[in-house]
Symmetry: C2
Subunit: 146 residues, 2 copies
């Protein structure tokens, strides 16, 4: 079993403290298309669970508890590779996404573009958030009505 | 298709407070290869500067000040597209990277893989951080000797 005190791997820098939890930023990317799917956080336990199970586990900062991605929706992420960055305070997961990453029904959470219609006017007020992707599922059918 | 409640660009959720600064997470990705280059933070000013100039500006949490990426190294990021996620607390920048994104000389900051040699043993202690990319420049030549 796992010794969480083992620092060899966990030389990661969990420097992002959110409500008392020490976290690294985690970016999930489709392992085939390289589309960025989502950004979340992981604590040490989430890293260990992810490595042990091969499925992405995060720390939910909104709920303040461990989050096994896809536990309720079935939209799990099979982790193919994990990288960390120069500061070791972020990880990049290359995953095989079942269903869709976003709870709003989009394959990627990054379905809104910050864009403007008038290419001659880069006034900040011209920029809007626009939905530029299509849903792959209806959230009510997966999570039930709110 | 603009969602009326999304019309205000600065409706972004700068919910990540680091040393008193309200920030969104920013992921920079190569606009051609989709390689993830780095993860950083942006405050409202950095978003505006980025949109106004077309070059990536961040907030340096280590230095506690605005950070025009590439200002000292010349390794700027020309921003082709910007997306935000479902929670609007993260942005994804698709960029044309000059030189390399990482100050350690690698094209991407994610040059270390969390991997293990023995595919039959997924014991957590078998995992190591391994450098799996090649440098594209020598940091001393760009930033000078430390």
């Amino acid at each position: 079993k796992v010794d969480p005190k083992d620092e060899d791997l966990l030389n990661l820098n969990f420097r992002h403290n959110v409500n008392g939890e020490d976290l690294v930023i985690a970016v999930a990317q489709d392992y085939e298309t390289s589309e960025v799917l989502m950004v979340a956080f992981m604590n040490k336990e989430a890293i260990i669970k992810t490595l042990e199970t091969g499925k992405a586990h995060y720390w939910s900062t909104s709920r303040g508890k461990p989050w096994f991605k896809g536990e309720s929706s079935g939209h799990i992420q099979e982790v193919k590779e994990i990288f960390t960055d120069c500061d070791k305070d972020a990880v990049l997961l290359k995953v095989k996404q079942t269903g869709a990453a976003c709870h709003e029904g989009y394959y990627s959470c990054f379905f809104r573009e910050i864009s403007h219609d008038n290419s001659n006017d880069v006034n900040i007020k011209e920029y809007k958030l626009k939905i530029v992707k299509d849903k792959v599922f209806e959230p009510e059918k997966v999570y039930g009505e709110k």
